[in-house]
Symmetry: C2
Subunit: 336 residues, 2 copies
């Protein structure tokens, strides 16, 4: 089985690539090749199968076609401009998040339609949409059929990507699973341009011994998942039976709704009060204006009961998972 | 006030242009210029203000920029590839319905942002979305916050257009009113490539003395509006206060849910049993598969109570309206 990860140089893409390399198989089928594509060619990954690492613009049809060669059966499309950056640069957000997804659609479609067609089944496409494509804010607990009314450009572009891939699935051009990812914590590395960057920072930075700013009140609730859980969901989405999805390719996975206060308590439980004391209250209305429109909770019934997506672990397990998986590497990367 | 109608050569665009020419004003302000844009330059319209008629591709940014000159205050964006055609030609649907709307967004944005900026308020954009952007089918009576889960490419592309213009409104690039038009009956002229073409044909063709096919059962219900009502809604949307819309620029206007049987009864009431007898039952599963996913009814509370959109007239008035407005011209056009 040949697999492509678009955005394969990013945090989740890289983690998924390492997991595939370790497993050597997806479901009960051996992996025969992996392509990692990102703006800069990702560093190589050691694996029991060939790994190609390509650099290119996701909005460039030729580059995306090269990244999805004939025989590709699964495409994981993680390439995106994140929320605060899409808000700051409208054209960049449109280019990467809309035109990029259009290029992915056409490259996947060409595998089974037109001159490059191989007679194979339409490729599975796992697309990461986002909680940011919804409104509702702090009081929301959204049902699975909730409307996407995004209050930010990133969320609008993700909702558009879902519509494109959903319609292409209906047409038989590809076979999409659109996962609306919660805010993923704890991200390794450094703070980034996502408006939700602080949700990881308030846990990661203290674990690194650094002070950090909390731009929202402690009662502020966020719909979250762990990197470990996100990778499990991707693996499930890459192999699941999509017939039960019918027309509706959008999945609200079973994340967890947690207040910032509960997250800090979990930090304290694992790493002591001195870790929690590194978090400074520093209200930032611009950040709160973006993340404050995102819903704080979902019922996620369909993902849980019908589709077999696994449950999110506890906040303490999330903090512990970061310490086990990422703390040393983040420390090294940042020269701490 | 300068106005542009994109799709100004089409049935509704042309009707709106004639109405603006007749009124000479929009609300309490005189119209100082009108641009009609379509794939082929529309024929001239006699008016008390200058009328420019331009031909071009809606997906060509330069053509759309020429159609939306500096000083434009209102853009009515009706240009689209219709439902059955978008279903038959996926790339054409994407080009016209998605890239076209992106070109409109950028041309409008350039009026108040960047080098062409005039310091004026963002232009009002009235965009015709569609009932086809929803699912639900015959049993549906959709609330105003219903999710758009399109079962056809046209509907997906309209939902995408809404998301683009809604987000551009939030950003202050333009000021959109996205009207999800019901199936408009009775269209003049000939049957077209819309899957819903039959809904007009079963009334229009008998009034012309011609036989016609009914591809669905008489109990089949359709969410409809008249051309007169559509033009009234456009005029309202061109001038209304958009503050009450907030983030949500999508409007389900107060159409009417009617079964085909009721429409044929209205035809009979106005034009006699010999008119109704021209309608032959000829089931067409392909047509029913498309229109059968569209919801047959909406509550349309927001449009009615909050936003002041006028109510749809009766089925008999719709038939009578066609006879008064369009019968003679359609007869002449078709050499009958």
């Amino acid at each position: 089985m040949q697999i492509t990860i678009l955005g394969g140089g990013g945090f989740l893409g890289r983690r998924l690539a390492h997991r595939l390399a370790k497993d050597g198989a997806l479901g009960d089928r051996a992996i025969t090749g992996l392509t990692l594509f990102d703006l800069q060619a990702p560093p190589p990954v050691e694996a029991p199968f060939p790994v190609r690492c390509l650099g290119g613009n996701i909005a460039d049809p030729a580059a995306v076609t090269a990244a999805i060669p004939a025989g590709t059966e699964v495409v994981v499309h993680l390439a995106a401009v994140v929320s605060a950056q899409a808000e700051a640069d409208f054209d960049l957000g449109l280019t990467v998040n809309v035109h990029g997804t259009l290029a992915v659609l056409q490259a996947c479609r060409a595998l089974t339609q037109g001159p490059r067609a191989s007679g194979a089944a339409p490729p599975r496409v796992v697309f990461t949409s986002s909680v940011a494509s919804f409104s509702g804010g702090q009081d929301a607990r959204l049902e699975d059929d909730a409307r996407q009314l995004p209050g930010n450009s990133y969320g609008a572009e993700k909702a558009i990507g879902e519509l494109l891939l959903q319609d292409a699935s209906r047409k038989g051009f590809l076979d999409a699973v659109n996962i609306r990812l919660p805010t993923v914590i704890i991200r390794p590395g450094r703070p980034n341009k996502a408006a939700s960057s602080f949700v990881s920072a308030i846990l990661r930075e203290p674990l690194l011994g650094l002070e950090t700013d909390l731009p929202v009140p402690e009662e502020f609730a966020v719909w979250i998942c762990s990197p470990r859980r996100a990778v499990e969901w991707f693996l499930h989405a890459m192999t699941m039976d999509t017939k039960p999805l019918g027309l509706d390719r959008g999945i609200n996975p079973p994340g967890r709704s947690a207040t910032v206060g509960k997250m800090l308590s979990a930090l304290e439980a694992v790493a002591g009060p001195e870790a929690r004391a590194k978090v400074r209250h520093a209200p930032d209305p611009a950040i709160e204006a973006i993340v404050g429109t995102w819903p704080a909770s979902f019922t996620a019934e369909r993902a849980r009961r019908l589709l077999g997506f696994s449950e999110q672990e506890s906040l303490e397990e999330i903090v512990q998972g970061f310490i086990e998986d990422d703390l040393a590497a983040t420390r090294a990367e940042r020269g701490l």
